[in-house]
């Protein structure tokens, strides 16, 4: 029993080490030229442009539902005027980065794992290696850099849309004055809050692109052929989502 547990623990540590080495290797290639700018632009479009609709929809509805729920709680204490900052702070510090990262994981992270996984099983990655071209530079680096650029932007859009979603509910539906909603946001939201949200989104970008690329690149670790790619894709989404939430807690407690 002890031997089995020990074996599993060792295997887990080995895998974690392998993943960490993959990330460090990627960081090395991010810093060392030549850089593939065209591939970077393509991946920015892949992460950003194609996730926009999902971000707009989820952002607006999150802001609306928050305004609705928080209003009823605040009204019990007669503090409805604080609805604006309550919605804005929750979005900027917490929900914007986390929810936008989860949405992009589901949409782009899974697609990324599947794409790299298929390249692996159809020997396209081997073809790159045989041409003396480094697959890390062509497949991994552009994705990680693109995610670092795009995640904060998507989170910012999520925040703005969410705040306006909250505004629609608070002002148009619940009768709060427009001035109260926005002036209180202006009073309570500080640059520090925006910075916390920014750090979170950047780190979520690294997590999602790292896990998605790793799972696709080593798809044969999870299984062979189409089944292997399908499992790798599921694993990437689950692992990224869980890590986002865990990392959010740790980062939140450090940055508070």
């Amino acid at each position: 029993m002890l031997r089995i547990l020990g074996g599993r623990a060792l295997s887990l540590f080995k895998k974690m080490g392998h993943m960490l080495m993959f990330l460090l290797n990627s960081i090395y290639y991010i810093c060392v030229p030549p850089f593939k700018f065209r591939l970077l632009l393509k991946q920015i479009r892949f992460f950003g442009n194609k996730s926009m609709i999902v971000i707009l929809l989820t952002g607006s509805f999150t802001g609306m539902v928050m305004a609705l729920q928080i209003y009823h709680t605040l009204s019990k204490f007669g503090s409805e005027a604080l609805l604006g900052p309550a919605v804005a702070l929750s979005l900027i510090r917490e929900l914007g980065p986390v929810l936008s990262a989860l949405m992009v994981t589901g949409r782009a992270g899974s697609a990324l794992t599947a794409e790299i996984g298929i390249m692996r099983i159809s020997e396209q990655i081997d073809a790159l290696v045989s041409m003396a071209l480094n697959p890390m530079r062509y497949l991994i680096v552009p994705n990680i850099v693109a995610a670092i650029i795009v995640f904060p932007l998507l989170a910012a859009i999520f925040d703005v849309i969410g705040i306006y979603g909250g505004y629609v509910i608070a002002v148009k539906l619940l009768g709060l004055s427009e001035g109260t909603y926005f002036s209180q946001i202006d009073t309570f939201v500080e640059w520090k809050d925006v910075r916390i949200g920014l750090y979170k989104s950047i780190s979520f970008g690294v997590i999602v692109s790292w896990i998605s690329c790793y799972k696709g690149y080593f798809t044969e670790e999870t299984g062979f052929g189409a089944e292997g790619v399908s499992r790798a894709t599921t694993d990437a989404v689950v692992m990224s989502s869980v890590l986002i939430l865990i990392w959010d807690y740790f980062l939140g407690s450090v940055l508070l």
Partner: protein, 255 residues
């Protein structure tokens, strides 16, 4: 020159290569024949450096590549061209982009030269006018020919062909072999061809090696192999199910 000495490779305790010894002289085409699943592709992947052997060495132009890593290994790979079994075309690129890719990435050529070279390479493999097709829009044979054009366009010193003609009709098979021969005569590359096309493969090879159960059982010129008295080689050449070569699924054929 390529020299392989005592090469061994196992996967999960199962030995696939059990001590390969092979010497391919400069400018020679060596055909490797043998059963499917006999380790031929694994041997190629060891030569490219995608797989690392458990034991033994692979010496290319005096350098043992099993000891090389990173940029040093890439220097050796610059000399190589590989045609993979399934073609390994980039499926998000058109035929033109696939063939142009190694030229664009590895050599600094003008746009005009690039266009001329790619068009010529596609014409040589009988795919003129197919430049804009994606791999998913092509047949298996067409994909293989695009991959062949991509392999040869950089004029590599050493070319490894993993079943270059599998899935092609007899006319295309002959024309592909002719293309390999002509390119070889023009550029004088050293070639390793893995093939099941017997006896056609004998026409383009200088030497033939028979690989069985991870070991080179017989090696010689095409004529020597044709006349071989080795019962395993004879059985393989005639395609008989009776003989010393084990059937892969005896239990299943009995059912």
């Amino acid at each position: 020159m390529i020299e392989i000495i005592g090469l061994e490779k196992s996967f999960n305790g199962q030995k696939v290569l059990s001590g390969i010894n092979l010497r391919i002289e400069h400018g020679e085409i060596m055909a490797i024949i043998g059963r499917s699943g006999g380790g031929k592709s694994v041997l190629l992947k060891n030569i490219i450096g995608i797989l690392k052997p458990d034991k033994g060495s692979i010496i290319i132009d005096g350098v043992d590549i099993t000891k090389l890593r990173g940029r040093e290994m890439d220097k050796t790979r610059q000399k190589l061209g590989v045609l993979f079994q399934g073609g390994a075309l980039f499926d998000s690129m058109t035929a033109y982009e696939n063939v142009a890719f190694p030229l664009k990435e590895k050599m600094k050529v003008s746009k005009k030269t690039l266009q001329e070279k790619v068009s010529k390479a596609l014409e040589d493999v009988g795919l003129k006018g197919m430049e804009d097709k994606y791999p998913s829009e092509m047949s298996g044979g067409m994909r293989k020919r695009v991959a062949l054009a991509r392999t040869l366009i950089t004029e590599p010193q050493i070319v490894l062909f993993d079943e270059p003609t599998t899935g092609l009709d007899p006319i295309l098979l002959q024309s592909t072999h002719k293309l390999i021969r002509c390119t070889h005569e023009t550029y004088g590359f050293t070639g390793i061809v893995i093939s099941h096309e017997i006896p056609e493969i004998f026409d383009i090879s200088d030497k033939v090696a028979f690989l069985y159960k991870g070991v080179i059982e017989e090696i010689g010129t095409p004529d020597e192999i044709r006349k071989s008295s080795n019962p395993m080689v004879r059985q393989f050449l005639t395609g008989s199910s009776e003989g010393p070569v084990e059937l892969l699924c005896e239990k299943e054929t009995r059912r």
